[in-house]
Symmetry: C2
Subunit: 271 residues, 2 copies
């Protein structure tokens, strides 16, 4: 289900100004002491702050080199200098902010096409918060904070397409987003929903094996067996959605999940 | 799974001072215009208010007779007059308040023994809020409002035992109780979790067929396929619980559920 490079999705609060453990793991994936990390800050409205924080954090995490780029308009994402930085990078990391800003700026540009190509060839790609959400093909663009899932609980958009079968949400437990992730999956039952807590990372290898790292958990919403009523009616009425047969997992540190078999396993057990 | 009388569980806000539709349905179950309803207000701290409201509500709902009793201490629940009222009743309804107060007052008394016996013989029994929670065998006594399920999210106690395989929670969506119901099921994976929204009723017939009525939904948490890590560790650390393979349903008005097969079906389809 995934391409050949590792994916590394953080649910926000990636510890860049704290213990940097999650970023350290991403540097390992990118080649450790030989790693050159390209950081894209487009999602962020304060790119200067992100520039300073991530330059320091990735240097202290053992990367050999860090490039921070902020393509702010679409034509910036076709800039040969940026594409050249991408070609030299051993890994790409997207910072947080607004995922809609991120995908509307770099989506469907030369940068995003080259990123997908290099990722297919093995380039690790990571992101936190908006930068994690943007990596999926169907992306959560926003939503209303409602306890019960409704049609309108979630707005969907096109993401960067590096993780085709999964819809990613972040700050998950902290912002109580189970309703909008359920709504996203009910509206797209072939997609898995991944809800990633803050200070928590999900690492996905080329074979689609998922490992959970950090302080929180990965919530998985699996709608492959979904029994539902008419979605057309649900959209019209915008009442709380009824559904049956959602498979729900909440996987803390050390748990594993397999995107191909859709099985979860506790720490120490193979899936 | 259920005894021979119908069960009628309301998730709070039973409409007694409003449209009385849910109470009207309970009166139908009890025999309609020949129904004599016994109302037990023990859970309530303002029994006088409940006495007035329910006497009026059940009369206006078409019951032939309404008796309101408030056994306040355990020996009140062995009173021959109360047992005689139970013998004459065509249905028993428990009002809301505190379920711990209710079960510690009438649990394991002559009244509760006779109630179970008459229910086995066909007596309909209903309740709202605390009065619904108290009918299960393993009862939610309380809990902390936490978004992520933890060991300590829920306190359990012994209920009246009319619905042996189900743990009932109420005010479910309104008080965002998914975390504590998940915790209850993870700690008792053989039990089903029923979370009932306000203004919503769940009707269970002698064959264990469940119908959903009213404005909200029944949330079902099914842990029969649960994959979990060590609960002993979870209890000690009280960290957010990890788990896999919870089956989750959210069933609005007209949906059906079968306690025996554990299958849900949308309106109009048999399960």
């Amino acid at each position: 289900m995934t391409a050949s490079g590792a994916l590394f999705l953080v649910g926000g609060k990636d510890g860049r100004n704290a213990d940097r453990r999650l970023l350290g793991r991403f540097v390992e994936l990118c080649g450790g002491s030989s790693a050159r990390v390209l950081v894209i800050t487009t999602a962020c409205s304060e790119p200067k702050r992100h520039r300073q924080e991530y330059a320091k954090a990735f240097s202290k995490s053992g990367a050999r080199g860090v490039s921070i780029c902020h393509p702010a308009r679409r034509h910036d994402a076709d800039d040969p200098a940026l594409l050249s930085a991408l070609d030299r990078a051993g890994g790409v990391y997207f910072t947080g902010g607004g995922q809609v800003k991120l995908v509307t700026t770099i989506g469907d540009t030369q940068f995003s096409a080259r990123l997908r190509e290099r990722h297919r060839q093995g380039l690790p790609v990571g992101g936190t918060s908006a930068g994690a959400s943007a990596l999926s093909a169907v992306m959560i663009a926003g939503g209303r904070q409602k306890r019960a899932a409704r049609w309108s609980s979630v707005e969907l958009a096109t993401g960067l397409g590096l993780l085709p079968g999964v819809i990613v949400d972040q700050h998950f437990r902290q912002r109580n987003r189970i309703g909008r992730l359920l709504a996203a999956v009910i509206r797209n039952p072939a997609m898995l929903g991944f809800g990633i807590d803050e200070a928590t990372a999900v690492e996905i290898d080329a074979a689609g094996r998922v490992a959970v790292l950090g302080a929180g958990a990965l919530t998985v919403v699996d709608g492959s067996s979904l029994v539902g009523a008419s979605l057309a009616d649900a959209a019209k009425q915008d009442a709380p959605l009824s559904f049956a047969e959602i498979r729900l997992h909440r996987l803390g540190r050390g748990w594993r999940y397999d995107l191909t078999t859709r099985q979860a396993g506790p720490p120490g057990r193979q899936v």
